[in-house]
Symmetry: C2
Subunit: 174 residues, 2 copies
Amino acid sequence: MTSAPDNAPATPAAERRFKHYWEDFQVGSVREFGQMPVSREAVLDFARQFDPQPFHLDDTAAEASLFGQLSASGWHTCAMTMRMMCDDYLLDAASLGSPGIDQLRWLKPVCPGDILSVRLTVLEARPMNSRPGVGLVRSRWEVLNQHRAPVLTMEGWGMFRRRPDAAPGARIPG
Amino acid sequence: MTSAPDNAPATPAAERRFKHYWEDFQVGSVREFGQMPVSREAVLDFARQFDPQPFHLDDTAAEASLFGQLSASGWHTCAMTMRMMCDDYLLDAASLGSPGIDQLRWLKPVCPGDILSVRLTVLEARPMNSRPGVGLVRSRWEVLNQHRAPVLTMEGWGMFRRRPDAAPGARIPG
């Protein structure tokens, strides 16, 4: 999957057919995806823009820090996780955004040269009482490095359109 | 305050004197800071890199979405909040990073033209049992737009060095 090009013709969400609707998230399913290399340049770029603490910008300061070496901003790891989610399933899903995240934990430093992937577990799903045609999905994401060590975990709700009667759905493989 | 230049001479964190140490976070204090304009180009840049969902990239798709207009990725709002925290106090503080965040809520869309600020409340502070010389601070951040409407709230722990005996501290004004 590729990201949406800037000049993509706009199709109103209400008309577009998606591959995945709320019904396609199966509670208990576990899915692994993504292979995101973490480059030194990307770590520095993000830190310069958003989190210019010395341990995200400077090798010597990083060596003297609790992290021991140059590491990505925790918010950069969140952003890279979001990109893996988009590329794997969100851009094909009738996604309506998220109200929030709980228990976000940065467990280990993410360093240049790491390769990240995601393990997604669907924890809970229910129709949204206040919005007919919309359902909520609660998920847990674990982000792993190339040694299969968890570097980030979080849980959160996503809002998805329910499947229109006529639309075929595609269960997200778990 | 400006961000650290790429070629800043590295000073080991153990030797450097900071303005703010763990002792300078006063439980109950409330502080407002930041004035971050949200540009359309920044919203699009972040979305292209990390969150290319149509409602973050395309006006027409955004109008048909729950957001009603082009809005920033929620992770972009987190990143902008981090930048305001760095510029206001973190780059002057003996900050050692954060283990995580709880109850992150995206309450309202953040749109091009918005101007964000932060209200920080110090909720709790305690020495870190497992690391002598380090203390934990639990904070609540509310991000407001130019209409003083909260767009994001979150709580989290930060780790800070405790003040060395000889170092004068500067209480963070609340």
